[in-house]
Point group: C2
Chain length 358, copies 2
DNA sequence: CTGAAAGCGCTTACAG
DNA sequence: CTGAAAGCGCTTACAG
């Protein structure tokens, strides 16, 4: 039965062999003609290309080519969230940007592997030449091990170091400690934390020792530890993600009781910090006069003006680039080394000494 | 030479055949044992799995499998921008979300094909089972034709209809017309447009007949036409993308001359509209008393409060879902039909009658 | 510059 | 339930 609508019936795709036959050359020659580089006479190449055009042949099948060559031209990007959530985070976008820039010489595509729980089948079964794990928890260890056994170069951006995975880390703990010390130097004592999700299953909650003990998110835990280095007893609130709205909700919770109000809030991301500031505005609490707020990341948050957030600027694009470069090196047989990145303290106008006690 | 650091030398990856040999079964049986579904006795399966473990075999090679099966488990997503820019747009994220939701039954990964000009090699050479074109211009026609010849099901979200591509469209023109009519009904006559990029090469500029004539971005052009249906002579400014900052810059330009100030601005996206409002705030122009502002998209812009933007809410997630469902159908041999989506007018508090003439 | 041959690693009818 | 065989569509040494 013909499919008249487009003139092709499934399964009847022409092959390189068919093209070769029609052009009156061998398979090898036809292949060479497409490869471009091979030693083929112009006349022959032309003949092959013409035959291809006549047969409506679109070029070598990528599947066959990747089996034969042992390369698929695909770099996997593994995130442990829904695609949408992952890329609402400007840091991840910056990472991706640096990454795609650095792997440009590979001429590879990025395969998004959003591991949302059940279906980590993708990540084990997808054909890729290398993979980047972005902020992944140890929960993925099995899948990661499978990739490793397959001989696929693995690079992680933050996250727990794992066997065979090259980790590009950030000074989450010491950077947060620095900003906490800044607050202490200003005289703050009642400090609260607005935290990133501690585990994969996300829910809003007061920070408790139990929650902290069970945490699996490296980044959140390290930043928490940094704050605790200076304010061991700081309370806080865990959010469901790095979103302005989440920061707002957390802050409303933390600022609810006027008698037990913190004088400073350490938010684990700039977006959360923006939400904290918004909540303060809504509650009529002046920032920084009555409440100091600090963030983390150094991303420009739209609509924060006239506030200039005191924060830690992390080299996100550069982290992505480093991961990308490492992949390129590994694929070329090299042995790149892990790198630790440093955040830079940015003093804005959202911190000040605490208000005098009433 | 052994690579002692990880105990494996490249090229020595075990194959299914090796596992079969060690387990004392045929290749077919070993394959069946991994496939899960096949009729294999538990004992045999166990034997195969054990042999695999002993050989450190991670499962069938996806490259070989996809050649043999004719499916790669990959759905391509083609955007005509850098990854970073593409996903700063909440609409594209929503699209992606709907898409990944709908193709879940395929258990496929999303391959990001960011066509940034030169390297459309990826898109022609990547192995994928289907592709979604997001807001692509006719410039990509060649690559798209190559995919089509390869028999890859093609679906587009907005963009010019092309041969063999199923387009899911939006009522860009009539929706914009509706919001323009709303402005006219309020009494506005001096209206300006803040436009999305009209062509792939982006630069900020006053809207001119030449620019408009050369435009290739379907969405921008249609929205422009909708505004022109009501205000044929409206001037405007073209931005480099749907970002708050771009809207701000455009508005500062349009509002610069106090004597030739528009009383209303039609922004082609909510992010642009947010930037327009910000510019108005900076210039001391009251919204909506002195300037009405409308957007398009219906995304929640962080930090816009207390403004509730008058806009057109488009069903972005639903569009992505429809595209995904179409792909699933096509891959199952079905013939889904194109769908046209409708935006919904949302009346916020950013429009009002124009100020009285001085 | 061109061709004959082998093989990348699997899966799938087909027999038994 | 298991095995022998063919073949997915290419690319790459190797000869000539």
């Amino acid at each position: 039965m013909n499919d008249e609508s487009n003139g092709r019936s499934p399964g009847a795709r022409p092959t390189l062999a068919a093209v070769a036959r029609r052009a009156g050359v061998s398979n090898s020659t036809a292949s060479l003609a497409f490869g471009g580089a091979g030693p083929v006479s112009d006349a022959t190449r032309e003949r092959v290309l013409t035959a291809a055009r006549e047969l409506n042949y679109a070029g070598p099948d990528p599947r066959a080519r990747s089996l034969r060559r042992g390369r698929s031209g695909i770099v996997g990007v593994v995130v442990e969230e829904r695609v949408r959530d992952a890329f609402r985070d400007p840091i991840k976008l910056a990472l991706l940007d640096g990454l795609s820039e650095a792997i440009a010489p590979l001429d590879a595509g990025l395969l998004l592997l959003a591991d949302t729980g059940a279906a980590s089948a993708h990540i084990e079964d997808a054909s890729m030449d290398a993979a980047v794990l972005i902020g992944c928890s140890p929960r993925l260890d099995e899948s990661v091990a499978a990739l490793w056994r397959r001989g696929i170069p693995l690079v992680a951006i933050e996250g727990e170091p794992a066997d065979g995975v090259l980790v590009f880390s950030l000074d989450n703990r010491s950077a947060t400690r620095a900003v906490a010390e800044h607050l202490r130097a200003l005289g703050h004592e009642r400090v609260a934390i607005v935290a990133l999700p501690l585990e994969r299953v996300r829910r809003r909650a007061r920070l408790t020792p139990e929650l902290e003990a069970e945490g699996t998110s490296n980044t959140a835990i390290e930043r928490l530890a940094g704050a605790r280095d200076v304010f061991p007893d700081a309370g806080g609130f865990v959010t469901t993600g790095s979103f302005v709205e989440e920061g707002r909700l957390a802050a409303r919770e933390l600022l609810a009781d006027p008698d037990a109000r913190p004088t400073a809030i350490i938010a684990q991301s700039d977006l959360l910090a923006a939400g904290v500031i918004r909540a303060a505005e809504e509650l009529g609490i002046a920032v920084p006069a009555e409440l100091s707020v600090v963030g983390f990341d150094g991303v420009r948050v739209d609509g924060l003006w006239p506030y200039d957030l005191t924060t830690l600027v992390q080299p996100a694009v550069e982290k992505g680039r480093a991961a990308g470069r490492a992949i390129v090196e590994m694929l070329a047989g090299g042995h790149p080394v892990a790198l630790a990145f440093t955040s830079e303290f940015h003093l804005g106008n959202t911190t000040a000494p605490p208000p005098p006690l009433p």
